[in-house]
Amino acid sequence: MALREVAVVGVHATEQAWKLQGRQAFDLTVEALDGALTDAGLQRSDLDGVALDWLGPGGVPGEASSWARVLGHDVAWTSDGYMDTSGVRGVLKGAAAIAAGLCEVVALGGAGVGARSTGTPVTPPRSEFTDVWGAYVLPLFGLVAARHMYEFGTTPEHLAAVAVTIRNLGYANPEAVMFGKAPISIEDVLESRMVSSPFHLLDCCIAAEGGAALILTSVERARDLQQPVVAILGGGMQASFGPYSNPALYRDIRMLGVTAAERALATAGMTIADIDVLSIYDANSFEVIRQLEILGVCSEGEGGPYIHDVGIGLESPLPVNLDGGCLSYAWSGTQQQTLKVIDIVRQLRGTAVHQVNNAQAGLATNAGTGAGHIEVAVLGKL
């Protein structure tokens, strides 16, 4: 079976909020799982592949086979670990398992709570050669952004324009953590406090709570289910170093993601021109600029002017993060990666909050630059 014979048949995002009262990661994951199954028109008894976070209590923390006792039957395939229960990497691995005949129906997902109560920006896992300098996620991305600005003349206003476009979409998304905030301007971003140069507060994504899950199965089975068929047309991954273990230097990572994107699009039999909508990892505003370059939407160094001249909003030729992204819709540890795929699925089904007209093909990425990796998936409506 080829990758393109695998479909995303069910999706569920729980409530996303700064703090979900009385919710734990486990019950959010169960809600996401059951919600995605219901969305697919499937039951727990249909599930034989599990890539879901298992934190306990009980079972073996970190081991997805622990879910078998919850499901009430043996499972044929499991996947677990830092990024294998979320996002593009998880989806591609789950889809590969189905395509290889290892299982038939995969659930992927999980949840995160407590990001704000710990008070510490998340940089898992701990890294002795960067922690010692007080480095963490944001400054490590800052190194790359600063170099890009130095080499290509990318401006703070370019970054702010990304933040304004995507944040305002989230402020108008009823599901977003920041739903209801008044729209912001470029000046608002530039006047917000500098956290780690060049990133002002409003250039940075949120840290909140929530969960997400999705269900994969064959296109053949998907045609008998209740949702429009959304297939995984292609995928690609690329990694340069263990996340945050080394500082990302622009000269080393400038092409990071190009090969992954080429692989994903080539497998799909497409070019970037065939893509109708993007859901790009947006831990910060600069990451969107860089990813537009490596995806081939514009040339290297031209991402800033592209934002200014062409734009990325709903009316632009290739909209980005119409759900509000990590900047204002949701971020809960790792499942915001899954939400990138869910964003594209909803666009292709025609059920997105800010809907692209007649979306037929979409591209989702997880990353990012400062962390030395990228994953790309191309999805299409069949």
């Binding site: 510490t120 920006p121 940089t123 050669f129 960067t130 010692v132 300098w133 007080g134 480095a135 963490y136 944001l138 400054p139 800052g142 190194l143 600063a146 170099r147 130095y150 406090r193 500098m194 956290v195 780690s196 140069s197 060049p198 080394n246 500082p247 230097l249």
Partner: protein, 67 residues
Amino acid sequence: MSIVYQAVIPDQEVPFVLAAVDLDDGGSMLTQIVSMNPEDVTIGSKVQFNPTHLTDEFSLPTFGLVQ
């Protein structure tokens, strides 16, 4: 480089300058550039090894602007 205004290490003084420096002998390393005024540090600034004494047993291999 990035001027860091919000720290994650509890006792870390802010702002501080996080930077990757290219060494004359080859190679590069992540470090902090210690400066009276962080705004004086820019990409391309010439820096020299200037360790920060932490304890009698331990110094952090930081750098400073060449005067």
